[in-house]
């Protein structure tokens, strides 16, 4: 069965979806991704969907779910490169993906993750000092 590769880039994981998504593929990606976040102790996940030109409600929801899952595991997820048609579809489907952070491209997404990481490390060190 085909798999979507998950690449480790520094402290982050990069998932680039280059094939048409179908339900089983998304489910296996969800398994792989959550496992990888734990194994690699990643602080952030980038999901690049710039090659994806169609989504259905299931895949849209799974994007939100994956973001929530990785957050629970301590890694922020940023979805990058969403196509206009996909964005319009998700809005028209009425899917609320408020938890999902987004960025225009991988560059900006990486910068966003780095910012989030810096902020949280500042908070962490504050907490550490107070103790």
């Amino acid at each position: 069965m085909e798999r979507i590769p998950i690449l480790k880039v520094g402290e982050f994981l990069l998932v680039s979806i280059q094939v048409d998504m179908h339900d089983r593929l998304v489910l296996s990606l969800q398994d792989d991704l959550t496992a990888q976040v734990v194994v690699s102790r990643a602080k952030g996940v980038l999901i690049d969907i710039s090659a994806l030109d169609m989504v259905d409600s299931f895949i849209g929801r799974m994007l939100g779910n994956m973001a929530a899952m990785t957050r629970a595991l301590g890694a922020e997820t940023v979805v990058v490169g969403m196509q206009p048609a996909v964005a319009i579809t998700i809005v028209e489907l009425g899917l609320v993906l408020t938890d999902v952070r987004t960025a225009i491209n991988v560059d900006k997404g990486m910068a966003l993750l780095q910012n989030l990481l810096n902020e949280s490390s500042v908070i962490d060190s504050h907490e550490f000092h107070e103790k």
Partner: protein, 289 residues
């Protein structure tokens, strides 16, 4: 009604072609006296002569009750052309239909002269001529209407294109000044152009300026929110600017909420907010002493 002897009308037309044409022209000129600026007498004469030349043979060959038959096609096509050109020139529908209807008077006069003694034949011929000319008149009105609709449709698409320009304000900041009422069709166009421009320019901030939107009701707010959410999904933050005092008041009265979308009263405020977001500062050069 069965076709009695359609040739009688055709005969009258052939025999009295010139006087009928003259009478007809006089009728038309009288009806269009106020429209001399739009069409010259020479043009009118040319159109009338041409139509009579197509009308007479069609009368001779065809039945007089159905103008959809092939023998009427050249006549109808010509009428369509006349009607179309008049619609574009700015004639009113009744002025356009007058072209055909004013043929009745001269035609009936000649028919009466020819068949004056035979009352039954006269009534019959007058009836079939009336039916025929009414149909042709209605046809011109129909074409006129269609032409006007085409013009309106074209103007609408023109307006759509004109009213949704996306401008680049800075590296990574684009703005979409909206003018006019928002409906679902315009929202779709607007959303598409905005999102496509976000991708093309790689902008992370999009400012939607609604200074030119006359009213914001719940529906318009919903359209705006849809656009904002779609832009956000693509990774661009959307700012809504140009909210006038009255609009702020109506929005609160209607219970319209923009949720966590940043709204500013002027485009300048939105721009300075956008600069802060992308980490740009604007400074005046130090004044020289």
């Amino acid at each position: 009604m069965t076709t009695t002897t359609p040739n009688r009308i055709a005969d009258v037309l052939t025999r009295h072609e010139q006087p009928i044409l003259e009478d007809w022209l006089r009728e038309q000129l009288a009806a269009l006296s106020a429209r001399q600026d739009l069409i010259s007498e020479a043009d009118l004469r040319r159109q009338s002569t041409e139509f009579l030349a197509l009308f007479t043979p069609a009368c001779r060959m065809g039945n007089l009750t159905d103008i959809t038959t092939p023998e009427w096609k050249p006549g109808c096509d010509f009428l369509g052309d006349v009607s179309r050109s008049r619609a574009i020139q700015g004639f009113s529908p009744s002025e356009t239909a007058t072209f055909v209807f004013s043929l009745k008077q001269p035609l009936f006069t000649r028919l009466r002269q020819e068949l004056g003694t035979d009352a039954t034949a006269l009534a019959e011929e007058m009836w079939s001529a009336t039916v025929l000319l009414d149909k042709l008149g209605l046809y011109t009105t129909e074409v006129y209407q269609k032409t006007r609709e085409e013009v309106i449709k074209r103007q609408q698409t023109d307006m759509l294109e004109l009213s949704t320009p996306v401008v680049k304000l800075w590296d990574g900041i684009i703005a979409l000044p909206l003018i006019g009422t928002l409906d679902s069709g315009r929202t779709n166009v607007m959303m598409n152009t905005l999102l496509q421009n976000i991708v093309a320019t790689g902008s992370s901030i999009a400012i939607v300026d609604i200074t030119g939107v006359p009213t914001v009701d719940t529906l318009v707010a919903q359209y705006l929110l849809k656009t904002v959410y779609a832009a956000r999904l693509m990774g661009a933050e959307c700012i809504i600017s140009g909210i006038r005092p009255q609009i702020a008041q109506t929005m609160v009265h209607l219970g319209v909420e923009f949720g966590n979308v940043v709204t500013k009263s002027t485009l300048a405020d939105a721009l300075s907010y956008a600069f802060r977001q992308i980490g740009c500062t604007v400074t005046k050069p130090a004044q020289r002493a």
